[in-house]
Amino acid sequence: EPEVTQTPSHQVTQMGQEVILRCVPISNHLYFYWYRQILGQKVEFLVSFYNNEISEKSEIFDDQFSVERPDGSNFTLKIRSTKLEDSAMYFCASSEPNDNEQFFGPGTRLTVL
């Protein structure tokens, strides 16, 4: 069964450093998403991406964040200058064009020191 994959599973970085989190969505899906879950809190929507551009973003998704689909398979989330409060589990998801069911990846745990 096809699934969403994410790398790395755990990323440790120093405050102020840039990080790139990678996701490979399911191959025939056209909508891509990033969510985050701070430890002990709920899953929060960050951004959705369709047709090579951002379709929606939350207020969390400020200028420090960017997303990109650099090739036909990867979908990346970049945080330019990480802050302590960026420490969280980041989930990628994807969905088909006419079906709102989102398939989630296993997540990347980001730890900012």
Binding site: Y33, Y35, V43, F45, S48, E56, F91, N100, E101, G107
Partner: protein, 114 residues
């Protein structure tokens, strides 16, 4: 802004007990509704979904949920839980008019005692 609430933070049951997890949302328009489960150390997996039609939906592993539009609720049920159902359960709502994104509830941790 839309919000999703889940009634219980942590539920503890014995095996074979019946389960009902509450979920309420605050949006009056058309919604798509989901329940996801997160087993320890694993990613979010879809249990069931409601888009339209019969408000009683059946999902995997014996779970079902009922959409009651007048109560803005989408409660998850299972008649007899197993130890393997121990996990975190998340209700998620997509307000169709606002696009594709999900608003998640805070989650309910279910512990099933053998």
């Amino acid at each position: 802004a839309q919000s999703v609430s889940q009634h219980n933070h942590h539920v503890i049951l014995s095996e074979a007990a019946s389960l009902e997890l509450g979920c309420n949302y605050s949006y009056g328009g058309t919604v798509n509704l989901f329940w996801y489960v997160q087993y320890p150390g694993q990613h979010l997996q879809l249990l069931l979904k409601y888009f339209s039609g019969d408000p009683l939906v059946k999902g995997i592993k014996g779970f079902e949920a009922e959409f009651i539009k007048s109560k803005f609720s989408f409660n998850l049920r299972k008649p007899s839980v197993q130890w393997s159902d121990t996990a975190e359960y998340f209700c998620a709502v997509n307000a169709v008019a606002y696009g594709q994104n999900f608003v998640f509830g805070p989650g309910t941790r279910l512990s099933v005692l053998p």
